[in-house]
């Protein structure tokens, strides 16, 4: 999957399912502070990522990921 496609799909579920304002969705946005994603949102994001990208996020792999760009990097790496 191309990087652009990954970013588009992430943006789609963040706006549609997590209901985050589209203008907030920029690469440098902090998942927690800027996008307001809390620990329970993340439980849903695990389900969504499994449906959209076909793999299950492992909690330990999320350490150090705090921005949207880092999150997309992580997905891109998992899909390679």
């Amino acid at each position: 999957m191309e990087r652009l496609e990954i970013e588009e799909k992430v943006k789609n579920f963040l706006t549609e399912d997590i209901e985050i304002d589209e203008e907030k969705i920029v690469p440098e946005a902090s998942l927690k502070d800027d996008l307001g994603i809390d620990s329970l949102d993340f439980v849903d994001i695990v389900v969504i990522v499994e449906k959209v990208f076909g793999f299950k996020i492992k909690q330990e792999e999320m350490k150090g990921i705090s921005t949207l760009k880092q999150f997309c990097d992580y997905i891109e790496a998992k899909l390679k």
């Binding site: 997590i18 209901e19 809390d38 329970l40 949102d41 439980v43 849903d44 695990v46 389900v47 299950k56």
Partner: protein, 407 residues
């Protein structure tokens, strides 16, 4: 002991999604019952059900407050919004005061079943998401209402079968009467999805009069053949009388009696004339009234052969020769189960405030036990000062609430 008044009400049911619409349905005898075809393919014996619209909550409350709402909690939110608004309690006021919440609810089947479906497929709880835990507990309504409205008082759920809604009002009344709370949001909620009603359909309790759905629910009628399941939510704001007066609230009515009993019989589905009688007598004693003081009885009668018969015999014992009109609104609504006690108190309040008795719909000819009752087969225009509302549930849990008009 303090006096307890009702300062707000809200309703979301098959008769309408607000007090005015429901008033029109009750007055004109408009039924909310229809057919859900999917029930037949799912394997139900009867596809009859109350048709309750799902509210659109996106835009009303944000996702973080919405994600734990089960179907019945969505209904409860809509009814609670109405009740709080009618009581003049906005979020600023709720934030500055201690308000309790006691709701009646006795199941939340759909999220439980969906959880199992996902588990069977995925075999991994990490793929369930976070909503199901908050949706699948009986206390889903209370948990969500107290979170959404940021309530700080008493917070628990009453599960008492088809008397859940009325016991929630009874308990709220006791908390306020005894000085433990000033204001409590109470009521009842009932899911309508087919998962929640399959096991009830299993015991053959539902009417099979599918050729004429709006005539299927026939409380007290000699040709009744079972109940029609229904649902939604009803909410009431109960308040200490002095507290309501001090803040200039618009008082609708006073709760003056709460009666309860358990049948004490060995069959879980068997109604009891004696159990009904003891609950009504206890409510009358609590209110310091005799049967002659009651202007209208909102009967529990669901349209089952045994249940209606027991209640009719009990009502005949208490009200023979008295002036009270009697009707079961379930002819229009079907049986709203866990919410019924609360919704029927809202229906009763609407009748009280508008001076009419809603018809006991589909009463062509009462059966023998009901033939001596003063049943309102059609709408009756009459002032109502004191109303008694009955709720009787499986396992012999019975409840009667008495309200008095406030002008």
């Amino acid at each position: 002991m303090r006096r307890v008044v009702i300062s707000g009400m809200g309703i979301w049911s098959c008769l309408g999604t607000g007090v005015d619409e429901v008033k029109d349905s009750l007055y004109t005898g408009r039924s909310g019952i229809g057919i859900e075809e999917e029930r037949l393919s799912y394997g139900f014996q009867s596809p009859l059900t109350g048709l309750v619209p799902r509210p659109e909550l996106k835009g009303l409350i944000d996702r973080h407050l919405r994600r734990g709402l089960s179907e019945e909690a969505e209904y409860a939110y809509m009814a609670s919004r109405q009740a709080l608004e009618a009581a003049g309690l906005d979020q600023q006021w709720l934030d500055a005061h201690e308000v309790g919440c006691i709701f009646g609810n006795d199941s939340s089947a759909k999220p439980v079943i969906e959880t199992d479906r996902i588990m069977q497929e995925k075999r991994d709880t990490a793929l369930l998401g976070q909503s199901y835990i908050f949706q699948s507990m009986n206390s889903t309504v209370n948990m969500n209402m107290c979170t959404i409205f940021r309530l700080k008082g008493i917070n628990f759920t009453v599960s008492a079968a088809c008397a859940s809604g009325s016991h929630s009002i009874g308990l709220a009344y006791l908390f306020i009467k005894n000085g433990l709370q000033d204001v409590i949001l109470c009521g009842g909620a009932q899911e309508t999805n087919l998962y929640s009603m399959a096991s009830f359909d299993a015991i053959g309790a539902f009417s099979k009069r599918v050729d004429d759905p709006q005539r299927a629910s026939r409380p007290f009628d000699k040709d009744r053949d079972g109940l029609v399941p229904s649902g939604g939510a009803a909410a009431l704001v109960l308040e200490d009388y002095e507290h309501a007066r001090a803040r200039g609230a618009h008082i609708l009515a006073e709760v003056i009696g709460y009666g309860f009993s358990s049948n004490g019989t060995p069959v879980i589905s068997q109604p009891s004339e004696d159990g009904c009688l003891r609950a009504m007598r206890r409510a009358l004693d609590d209110a310091g009234l005799c049967p002659g003081d009651i202007d209208y009885v909102n009967a529990h009668a669901t349209g089952t052969v045994q249940g209606d018969r027991c209640e009719a015999l009990a009502l005949d014992t208490l009200f023979r020769g008295e002036h009270a009109w009697i009707s079961s609104t379930k002819g229009l609504t079907g049986h709203e189960c866990w919410m019924a006690g609360a919704s029927e108190l809202v229906y009763s309040l609407i009748m009280m405030k508008n001076g009419f008795v809603a018809p006991n719909a589909n009463l062509s000819e009462p059966d023998e036990a009901a033939s001596r009752l003063k049943l309102a087969a059609r709408t009756v225009d009459t002032p109502l000062d004191v109303i008694l509302s009955n709720s009787f549930g499986f396992g012999g849990t019975n409840c009667a609430i008495i309200i008095k008009n406030y002008q």
